[in-house]
């Protein structure tokens, strides 16, 4: 099997060898990009890349599939891959890149990587994710920080909350005041991945990065049934009281707009939420506040978006793919895209003066936590575990969060079962 893959990769290097088996309908110099950057800020950011690519003479065919945090897009991708006609580039991330690599479907980007000296350019933690079998198969677009708390200062002020809560206890204390003042303390959308986002943030805030890594990355049963986990689960469920009734199925950006409109005070969400604040014309520090999620000042949960390149036969299409990969890492795109999307550039060497204070703090924390060990992959965003394990954890978390009867002990037990099944 291993041998076979090697040969396949070699033949891909050879270029046209696989032309017969891969029916391509795309014309020369076209890149069909499957992605789910569909919300306002995201779409605008992706548009930048499209323009840059078109300036280089290639054509960008936009294949956006909205819905379900990329779930629908993944279905489409699988269907396209099965039919032997995958798009040339797709938004794939985390361990999933490895899974696609194992199937032998990804093309390599080594020539571009060498030219751009990606090994020196990218932080090792980022570069590792982009490689399959030692070769670059994907290009990082950005680094998101998941453990952020967003707040509307006017609402906080109205409710008599002095400052953004920095511990979980402060969060609940502030929540009470905000509720009394007639606002929703925490904006949230009742989708499994959003529930899981809050969950992992609470786990991080309760047990710290070391515990987080043991429990949600290594899936250590001891950690999963420990008292710390029980405490985290109980705290997690208490956050339900801070949310409103209408959250069922609500999209994350609708929840963000509740903070923007002053209907809700805060939201626990990754920094893509900033794209929405920016799109609404708000300034950080004045119109809205960003702070590390309560209790997680010393940690950074990362979520890296990347574009993986599928193996294609057409020479010109390959050229277009390489151009796309090169453009993605160029300062111009990294800057514009991440300014619009709210994340920080995947390459840490850029001048950050144009970025706002949230992004600057994010980059600082990224580098600091990378050294101190607080840098952890986000479970809720598919950076920590394989998709089947992640799904099973989502099931436990979201079910526990939404059912009034299930106790923290029961939930912890189920997490342990899930971990055992995954081993």
């Amino acid at each position: 099997m291993r041998m076979l893959k090697r040969t396949l990769l070699k033949s891909a290097l050879g270029g046209l060898a696989v032309a017969a088996t891969l029916g391509t309908t795309a014309q020369a110099g076209e890149v069909e990009v499957l992605h789910w950057w569909t919300s306002g800020g995201e779409a605008r950011a992706a548009n930048v890349l499209k323009q840059l690519l078109e300036e280089e003479g290639h054509q960008w065919k936009d294949f956006a599939v909205a819905g379900g945090g990329g779930e629908t897009a993944m279905t489409v991708l699988k269907s396209r891959a099965m039919s032997g006609n995958p798009p040339s580039a797709a938004q794939i991330k985390g361990p999933e890149i490895q899974e696609w690599g194992e199937l032998g479907l990804l093309g390599q980007l080594d020539s571009v990587a060498e030219e751009g000296d990606w090994d020196a350019l990218l932080p090792p933690v980022v570069a590792d994710i982009m490689k399959y079998d030692g070769q670059y198969v994907a290009v990082p677009v950005n680094v998101h920080r998941v453990n952020w708390l967003w707040a509307n200062p006017k609402v906080l002020e109205d409710s008599g909350v002095e400052q953004v809560p920095s511990t979980l206890d402060e969060l609940f204390a502030a929540g009470e005041k905000i509720r009394e003042a007639g606002y929703i303390p925490l904006a949230h959308g009742g989708q499994p991945w959003q529930d899981a986002t809050v969950f992992e943030t609470v786990v991080l805030g309760t047990g710290g990065p070391e515990f987080y890594r043991k429990a949600l990355v290594e899936l250590d049963p001891e950690a999963l049934k420990s008292d710390t986990m029980i405490q985290a689960l109980e705290t997690f469920k208490r956050t339900h009281e801070l949310m409103d009734d209408g959250m069922s199925g609500r999209d994350w950006n609708t929840a963000t707009s509740m903070v923007i409109n002053g209907k809700a005070a805060m939201q626990l969400m990754g920094d893509w939420a900033k794209g929405e604040f920016t799109a609404a014309g708000m300034t950080p520090g004045e119109d809205y506040l960003c702070a590390p999620a309560p209790g997680t000042q010393e940690a950074f949960t990362f979520n890296i978006d990347s574009l993986a390149m599928f193996r294609v036969a057409d020479e010109e299409e390959q050229e277009a793919q390489r151009t796309l990969a090169r453009l993605v890492l160029e300062p111009e795109f990294q800057k514009t895209f991440n300014l619009a999307k709210g994340s920080i550039p995947a390459r840490p060497d850029l001048d950050m003066s144009e970025f706002d204070q949230c992004a600057q703090q994010s980059l600082e924390d990224f580098q600091r936590t990378a050294e101190e060990g607080g840098l952890v992959p986000s479970m809720a965003h598919g950076m920590a575990v394989r998709s089947d394990v992640q799904g099973a954890i989502f099931d436990v978390v979201t079910n526990y969060f939404n059912s009034p009867d299930m106790t923290a002990q029961q939930a912890a037990e189920r997490l342990v079962n899930t971990a055992n099944a995954a081993m």
Binding site: G23, T25, E32, H35, W37, T38, S39, G40, A43, R44, A46, N47, K50, K61, D62, F63, A64, V65, A66, G67, T72, T75, V76, K78, S79, R80, M82, S83, G84, N85, P87, D251, N253, T254, S257, I260, E276, A279, A280
Partner: protein
């Protein structure tokens, strides 16, 4: 039939009134979502936020419709759902035509030329009506790849024909089975062939069931989302996929009016078909398609 023994007692009148009350009440229940959709689609955003669901628009506007048709963004393409609307037609028309025609021929051959095993063949084909579509998604993707039809309109037409003939065959078979065999056997004695008999004798009386089959297939295929999203690409996405993208895309503020207008646009063709041809649909059902 109540005029057979029409008793104009107060009790009967009361019964009549409550009969209408129930019917109209139910009609309101069925209409509620459509009314909300329609009202919302012609209101400016501020009114939606401020007012009640059923409040009449103070300043009705067609802007959301225009935006939904030609300007709204799905992903980074800001061209509305208009283009996808025509994509849908390109898929639906051939798929409906082919599946209906095949269904008619199958129904005719299975009932009027009862060869050995006809019942078994029918029973086996019928299962196609019941297969959950998620189950066939991956094998279908691979098959389309083999045929070189993946992501093409032709591929989508094929998918819809394949899973449509089970229904159309069922309709036509149940219809033709109720047509007296004497008509056909007389023509056979006169030496008329297979297609001639179909053309001259059965086709002219098949209008009701054609209506049923066409309406059914049109609705099913137009409304399909799963196949549409899985087997289409950049140029071939049907309108349901665009609608899904649109309602799941938002720029800060969720534009409910544009969402609703787009939903109305996506629903309009099937709605028109049902309103215009609904009468014939019920008539066609009467003509035998549902008689067990």
């Amino acid at each position: 039939m109540d005029n057979v023994i029409r008793r104009r007692t107060p009790g009967a009148r009361l019964a009549r009134w409550s009969l209408y009350a129930v019917l109209i009440g139910m009609a309101l229940f069925y209409l509620l979502p459509l009314v909300v959709m329609l009202l919302t689609s012609v209101k400016p955003l501020e009114e939606i936020r401020a007012g009640s669901l059923l409040a009449l628009p103070q300043a009705p506007t067609l802007a959301p419709w225009v935006k939904a048709w030609s300007e709204a963004c799905t992903g980074m393409r800001c061209e509305g759902v208009g283009g996808y609307f025509w994509n849908s037609f390109r898929i639906v028309i051939p798929a409906v035509a082919i599946s209906t025609l095949l269904g008619a021929l199958n129904g005719y051959a299975l009932t009027k030329w009862r060869f050995r095993g006809a019942d078994l063949i029918f029973a086996l084909m019928l299962f196609g009506c019941f297969i959950p579509f998620q189950v066939v998604l991956l094998p279908m993707a691979r098959t389309l790849g083999w045929l070189g039809l993946s992501t093409s309109t032709a591929g989508l037409v094929l998918v819809h024909v394949v899973f449509g003939i089970a229904f159309t065959t069922l309709f036509f078979r149940n219809f033709y089975v109720s047509i007296p065999n004497e008509l056909v056997s007389a023509a056979k004695l006169d030496g008329a062939g297979f297609f001639r008999i179909f053309w001259r004798i059965l086709l002219p009386i098949s209008a009701p069931i054609f209506v049923v089959s066409v309406i059914w297939q049109f609705t099913q295929i137009w409304n399909d989302f799963l196949f549409g999203v899985a087997f289409s690409a950049f140029e071939t996405q049907p309108v349901t996929v665009a609608l899904n993208n649109l309602v799941n895309t938002s720029t800060g503020v969720k534009e409910y009016n544009v969402d609703m207008a787009a939903a109305m646009i996506a629903a309009l063709p099937t709605l028109v078909v049902y309103v215009l041809a609904g009468k014939y649909f019920v008539r066609g059902l009467t003509a035998g398609s549902v008689k067990g």
